[in-house]
């Protein structure tokens, strides 16, 4: 069973979002996603200052097996990409909700709340996907 922290929001494409005190959103991939990908060997994160639209592919995580796009669940401006992952992509496997965060985005408008899942909804979604 993969871990789904109670204090985060989720997407159907297996990203998580954390609201930071400064109003920005920290975004990463879920424990389920890192486990499905396997050992990560390459991570590409967006540079600060880049504008992203909701649903835009803006980071790439690659395991030995496959490359996978990571989508920004919100539109806004990237304030930071986690550049440590360039040399330590395995952080995403080891700590997907902590050191393995991918990017921080300052949202430019209303949150697309209807597309985000609560922890319980994401767990249900996973159960259905795995079922």
């Amino acid at each position: 069973m993969s871990s789904v922290p109670a204090d985060l929001q989720y997407t159907k494409s297996h990203e998580w979002l954390r609201k930071l005190p400064d109003g920005t959103l920290e975004i990463g991939i879920t424990d389920h996603a890192q486990d499905a990908l396997g050992d990560l060997v390459f991570v590409e994160v967006p540079e600060a200052g880049r504008s992203v639209t909701s649903g835009e592919a803006c980071a790439v995580v690659e395991s030995v097996k496959a490359a996978s796009d990571v989508y920004s669940p919100v539109g806004g401006t990237v304030v930071a990409g986690n550049s440590r992952l360039v040399s330590e992509p395995e952080s995403v496997n080891k700590d997907p909700y902590g050191a393995g965060w991918l990017m921080r985005v300052r949202p430019n408008g209303a949150m697309p709340a209807e597309e985000l899942l609560s922890p319980a909804e994401y767990e249900q979604f996973l159960a259905k996907e795995e079922g």
Partner: protein, 371 residues
């Protein structure tokens, strides 16, 4: 639901992630693909390769038949148990499959062919065989035990005489030992054995190997190991639309006996006379990133679009690419124009990244062959 090998219940018990591979439900990894890869390079690992198709061919004129069927020449096989790697070609010189053929005696040869090509292979063989008895050995499971410690570990499962016999096998030789067919072959670039044994015994043997410290390894590690070893994968690096000469397999095509008119020979001789336009090379990515199959390869002189990405006329294509756990960088096999030099660029998501052209293998017996 795909077909399952006799080891399937054990894979599930061991927590393997199961994927479809050529119609079979196979373990892609147990714990970590990279850890499994290193286990084989540094110690020993065991793979379930029971999905591969073992076919016994028996008949009075086996050599004549196989000398027509296969592009390599089974007359190279002089002593019983000796194996040969060969392509089986169609009339156009395209590769129907690559396989291993064992010479067991003058009326009995054994083929090991790919799982995904089983049906068409058997149909092709039957279509060309007269008075040959063809038996698919579905009663056998096959394990590959690979790595610098693999032979010694496997020998511990044998009788004293059996261990001596197994450890005395030369490279690419197999024989019946203690009721199992044990061959010193593999697909990893490491020493080791491939063992064909009665299906019912396979799980017990696997458990004993695990107890001796041999790691359970999935098809994920098998793929990174074979690619580091510069070995082709059928369906990726060659298929019916490509020939051995443009697939790095010219060394497996025996053209020395002019009277041996094997299937595909006429076409290959014509292609060779005109000059083979493409070749299969190794690539080492100089930049960060991961090479993957179907990425476009740009060589000096090949057209690019205005954005700098590979244009429609990109010169070549990656056939197999991965991250190499041993080299800690990305490697690939690519089919490129014959005149390609020592440096190319690869289009990865619209960016052109530098790659060096090398001669495979990348790794052999645990050691990097790349500077």
């Amino acid at each position: 639901m795909g077909r399952k090998t006799p080891l399937f219940p054990l894979h599930q018990e061991l927590g393997a992630r199961i994927v479809d591979f050529g119609g079979w439900d196979m373990p892609v990894q147990y714990t970590s693909q990279i850890a499994e890869h290193h286990a084989v390079r540094r110690a020993a690992g065991v793979f379930d390769v029971s999905h591969m198709c073992v076919v016994d061919l028996k008949g009075p004129r086996m050599r004549d038949f196989l000398r027509t069927l296969l592009a390599n020449d089974v007359n190279k096989l002089k002593t019983p148990g000796k194996a040969l790697y060969s392509c089986m070609l169609n009339e156009a010189g395209g590769v129907i499959d690559d396989l291993i053929v064992y010479f067991l005696n003058d009326t009995w040869f054994r083929l090991v062919v790919n799982a995904g090509t089983r049906d068409k292979d058997l149909a092709w063989i039957r279509g060309h065989a007269a008075a040959i008895e063809i038996t698919e050995r579905t009663d056998l499971a096959m394990l590959a035990i690979q790595g610098p410690e693999a032979r010694a570990k496997m020998a511990q499962l044998l009788s004293a005489a059996g261990a001596t016999a197994a450890l005395g096998l030369g490279p690419f030789v197999g024989r019946e030992i203690d009721g199992w067919f044990i061959a010193r072959t593999g697909y990893t670039g490491e020493d080791g054995f491939e063992v064909m044994l009665p299906a019912a015994e396979a799980i017990g043997v696997w458990r004993k190997l695990n107890a001796l410290g041999v790691a359970s390894c999935g098809l994920g590690a098998r793929d990174t190991l074979r690619l580091e070893a510069g070995m082709n994968l059928y369906g990726n690096d060659m298929d019916e639309n490509t020939n051995p000469l443009e697939s790095g397999l010219a060394w497996t095509v025996a053209l020395d006996a002019p009277e041996r008119r094997f299937i595909g020979r006429d076409a290959l001789e014509e292609i060779e006379a005109r000059g083979v336009p493409r070749k299969l090379v190794g690539l080492v990515l100089e930049d960060r990133g991961v090479l993957r199959s179907h990425q476009k390869v740009v060589t000096a002189g090949s057209p690019t679009s205005e954005s700098g990405a590979a244009g429609a006329g990109a010169a070549g294509e990656i056939t197999s690419g991965t991250y190499s756990p041993t080299l800690e960088r990305s490697i690939a096999l690519a089919r490129v124009p014959a005149n390609t030099g020592s440096a190319v660029q690869v289009d990865i998501r619209g960016k052109l990244l530098a790659a060096r052209v090398v001669k495979p293998p990348f790794v052999r017996s645990g050691k990097s062959l790349i500077n």
